[in-house]
């Protein structure tokens, strides 16, 4: 009965998920992943699963980007330290 809405949100999820795979830089990937989390929460809501949408929002919009960005930062620092030691 809500077919157009579900189709629109499915298309959004497909576009965001494809982009999350296609983008190569981890920082930009984390940004796309945050938007993908919001799109997935919308998909769960329009398919009448708001409880799943709530947990997806909590994890996808704040925790996953934080984990990825902290890892990127740590890796970058280690690379910088390595370059300084080579000099």
């Amino acid at each position: 009965m809500d077919d157009p809405l579900i189709v629109v949100v499915l298309l959004l999820v497909a576009a965001a998920a494809t982009a999350a795979v296609a983008v190569r830089d981890p920082v930009r990937q984390a940004l796309v992943l945050a938007v993908l989390g919001v799109c997935l929460a919308l998909l769960f809501t329009v398919t009448q699963a708001p409880d799943v949408g709530l947990s997806q929002l909590a994890v996808g919009s704040a925790v996953t980007p934080l984990l990825i960005m902290l890892s990127v930062r740590k890796v970058r620092r280690r690379q910088q330290d390595g370059k300084e030691k080579e000099r």
């Binding site: 965001a16 938007v35 919009s61």
Partner: protein, 150 residues
């Protein structure tokens, strides 16, 4: 489908679609702005869906998104501060337009709901949405210099 869900379909398709397009293409400063605005564009859509389905409990989703969306953006603003310092994002026109869109949706829904607890909840969602979005935008454009240390 009723008028509310049709409006939500168009609003989500155009708004979140634009956010996805913005976050996929362009320089880093445009991507962080699009990520920031994605939560401000999705939350009014969730409010419209709650009204369209006739289930006030769905407002909780928009409340959580309005609360956690800016938190996610602040994570990026904090950890990308060095990358964004040389090329800070300036998109006040878009940010204010999206904030105005959220305010319009919240006010229309308040007018439909009528006075009561539900209306207070809607107003809280709207205030969190607009306030959090403006704070996150300011943080992205380097508005809080003290937070750069560490």
């Amino acid at each position: 489908m009723n008028g509310w869900t049709w409006t939500a379909t168009i609003a989500l398709g155009v708004g979140v679609g634009a956010a996805v397009w913005g976050v996929v293409t362009g320089p880093l400063r445009r991507r962080v702005v699009a990520q920031n605005l994605s939560s401000a564009l999705a939350a009014p859509g969730l409010l419209l869906l709650a009204q369209g389905y006739g289930r006030p409990a769905y407002v909780d989703l928009a409340l959580l998104l309005a609360l956690l969306g800016p938190v996610g953006t602040l994570v990026f603003a904090r950890l990308l501060a060095d990358d964004l310092a040389g090329d800070p994002p300036r998109a006040w026109a878009v940010t204010l337009a999206v904030a105005g869109y959220g305010a319009v949706v919240v006010l229309v829904l308040c007018a439909v709901t009528g006075p009561g607890r539900a209306m207070v909840k809607l107003l809280v969602v709207g205030a969190l949405l607009i306030g959090g979005n403006l704070v996150a935008s300011r943080a992205l454009s380097g508005g809080f210099p003290g937070s750069r240390r560490g």
